[in-house]
């Protein structure tokens, strides 16, 4: 377990007296942090005052939710801990969606909130909320700092918890009087990592035996592969064994999406080939995947003929929804490297999957002369190349990105997978471009999602970030509209957004280059203009309001009961 604080060793030169706020900034700097995303306010003013003297780069978002989404994406792309700050009360509550997003997708993040002074806590003071209590279900851990001496220890521990084991967000709530107090005697933190879980040898042998004797093995690759830095180990395992694979939304890119042994995404909007393969396999090897309902459909009919091998870093995920036949709990990279099954005989299986893949491949020959979003996204990702990063919002376009874009690496696909938070795309694009300034970062958004954090255009402009925005505008909440069409007798309730503003003019008013396209013959030129722009740019793309995402597993149905449109 992690040890308690220790006093700076006896005999060492005493530290100068510093304020709590200075200690916060020093502790964040000590973690190697480059960027903090945030928004100032009353209770956190002492920390912003200390920030004034720091080399930390602060990115001023225009809403705390924008700040935390940017920090989230920064963490996903850079592999570092994302850091954000907000004041007490509404500043803190505006972080909650972002905390939930990071919690659901296991993103390492530290959120620092100002709090009213200690003597006012619990008195319903101005801008006082119990952010510690409110966020308990959506953080990996949280702290209220009661003593100025504890600040360095707690900040360091927060970073340690955020990045260790299964990553997640950590909240540090600091009352104003604690940041204003001074101390000569800061405590420090010593991390003592517990031994990570190791799979039992018998389980490894059982998994190897099961794979070697399988006729129809299949890998089910989830986001845990990425979180566990196991991408290279997975790729080596696939090259070694030639076992075909399907991926979850968060697992896309762990294997390049054009790899011959991948069948694409499984689940509700996955490929028919992937869902058929899961249904027909006899051994399913879940790697860092959690049997999420969007992936499994009706759980009872998911992989009904398969023995399950479940590999995960987090023991709490094993058996949560599907009891495995063999469980391997530990570091995925080590387990994948050490797993050496004899090559199974898969000739007929691979031939079968090849036919499935060919028969159920996506088509891009939609009728009409309007822009067909899947074709545009495919062309965009192919032209952008290996440096492409898509920061998605949530809705139909999110599924089209997952289905049709080419991803060479998992960091290339930023999406709010677990929470499904509309408004993620634009601030995520900001975080991504700061993490990888040379990447081709494209925020792919819809007209509904875009308006949820449209104010972050000001952040893009403020820092002159060369972010590319592809706004697919169907003048409606498309995915909800699609469900109302298919499952609610076409009773279209509150999904019409035809009152949208002119998005090109909106971007222009923020000082961002923008243009609108509507016709298919404008598509290639629009993509070229987007990709060749030196500064921020928005392509407003009007698409058919009636376009649907296909294929689709109807709610409550098994994955092989997919509708193909």
């Amino acid at each position: 377990m992690i040890e308690q604080a220790e006093q700076i060793s006896a005999g060492a030169k005493p530290a100068p007296e510093r304020s709590g706020a200075q200690l916060v900034i020093a502790a964040v700097e000590a973690e190697g942090t480059e960027y903090i995303f945030g928004y100032p306010g009353g209770a956190i003013m002492p920390i912003y005052d200390a920030l004034f003297d720091s080399h930390l780069k602060h990115i001023l978002a225009r809403h705390e939710q924008g700040a935390i989404f940017s920090a989230d994406a920064y963490a996903r792309v850079s592999g570092k801990v994302g850091v954000c700050m907000a004041t007490s009360g509404p500043g803190a509550t505006n972080l909650i969606t972002g905390l939930a997003n990071a919690f659901m997708d296991s993103v390492p993040l530290v959120a620092i909130t100002g709090q009213v002074a200690t003597h006012l806590m619990g008195t319903d003071a101005f801008q006082e909320v119990d952010i510690f209590g409110m966020t308990l279900p959506v953080v990996k851990h949280s702290f209220i700092v009661r003593r100025v001496e504890d600040i360095p220890r707690i900040i360091a521990e927060a970073f340690h918890i955020a990045r260790s084991g299964r990553p997640g967000p950590v909240l540090v709530d600091i009352p104003k009087d604690v940041t204003q107090a001074k101390t000569f005697d800061p405590k420090r933190f010593i991390a003592d990592d517990p031994n990570p879980p190791r799979p039992a040898n018998g389980n490894k042998a059982a998994a190897e035996w099961m794979i070697a004797h399988a006729k129809r093995p299949l890998l089910y690759v989830g986001g845990g592969v990425v979180l566990g830095n196991a991408v290279e180990a997975l790729r080596a395992f696939v090259e070694r064994t030639c076992i075909p694979s399907v991926a979850t939304l968060k697992g896309l890119g762990a294997l390049p999406t054009d790899h011959p042994l991948t069948l694409g995404m499984l689940g509700m909007h996955g490929t028919k080939a992937a869902n058929m393969a899961v249904h027909d396999c006899d051994v399913l090897i879940a790697i860092g995947a959690r049997f999420d309902d969007r992936a499994t459909g009706q759980l009872e009919s998911f992989a009904p003929n398969a023995k399950i091998i479940h590999m995960d870093r987090d023991p709490a995920e094993v058996g949560k929804l599907r009891r495995p036949d063999v469980a391997l709990v530990g570091e995925l990279s080590k387990m994948l490297t050490s797993l050496r099954p004899a090559a199974p005989d898969m000739e007929r299986w691979q031939e079968y999957l090849g036919i499935l893949k060919m028969r159920h491949g996506f088509r891009y020959d939609a009728p009409g002369d309007g822009i067909y979003a899947p074709a545009m996204l495919k062309e965009l990702s192919e032209k952008a190349g290996d440096d492409f990063i898509a920061a998605c919002d949530v809705g139909q376009h999110q599924m089209w990105v997952a289905q049709h874009c080419r991803f060479a690496r998992p960091q290339a696909h930023l999406t709010s997978g677990g929470l499904g938070a509309m408004g993620y795309g634009l601030p995520a694009g900001i975080g991504a471009i700061l993490a990888e300034p040379n990447a081709t970062v494209v925020t792919v958004s819809g007209d509904g999602s875009f308006m949820m954090n449209v104010q972050e255009l000001a952040t893009v402009q403020r820092y002159k970030l060369p972010l590319k925005i592809l706004l697919l505008d169907n003048a409606s909440l498309g995915l909800v509209r699609q469900w109302q069409e298919l499952f609610f007798d076409q009773r279209f309730s509150e999904v019409d957004l035809s009152c949208n503003p002119d998005f090109a003019e909106v971007a222009d008013s923020f000082g961002i280059e923008a243009f609108t396209v509507t016709k298919r013959d404008e598509q290639s030129a629009a993509i070229d203009r987007l990709l060749n722009a030196k500064g921020p740019i928005l392509a407003h793309v009007k698409i058919d309001p009636k376009a649907n995402v296909w294929p689709l597993v109807p709610p409550g149905k098994s994955n092989i009961e997919m509708l193909e449109g």
Binding site: L136, P196, P197, A316
Partner: protein, 101 residues
């Protein structure tokens, strides 16, 4: 559905009990009883020793899975499952972070 008893040792810290009880309820269990002696004869002074009675709200809820979910809370030192006696000395200890077979 049958009530079960879990004994938990958790590092004393602000919110630790709230976090623990919240998790149990969110994961689909009813808290039917709890006991938290100020001093536990077998435990460390810097820890809480909590014994909770729980009942799953539906048949799909597994106490094994819940135990592992509790086990990954920061600050959990030991967790043990008992069927009868709410006394840590009469329970079989479980390694919180260990492999699952």
């Amino acid at each position: 559905m049958a009530q079960e008893t879990i004994c938990i040792e958790i590092t004393r810290s602000e919110g630790a009990i709230q976090r623990l009880f919240g998790l149990i309820e969110r994961r689909g269990f009813e808290l039917t009883s709890f006991n938290m002696p100020e001093v536990h004869p077998m435990g460390a002074n810097d820890a809480y020793h909590v014994t909770v009675g729980i009942t799953p709200r539906d048949a799909s809820r597994s106490v094994d899975v819940l135990s592992r979910q509790i086990g990954r809370l920061h600050g959990i030192r030991r967790i043990a499952r008992a069927f009868v006696a709410p006394d840590m000395s009469q329970t079989q200890e479980r390694n919180v972070g260990g492999g699952v077979s």
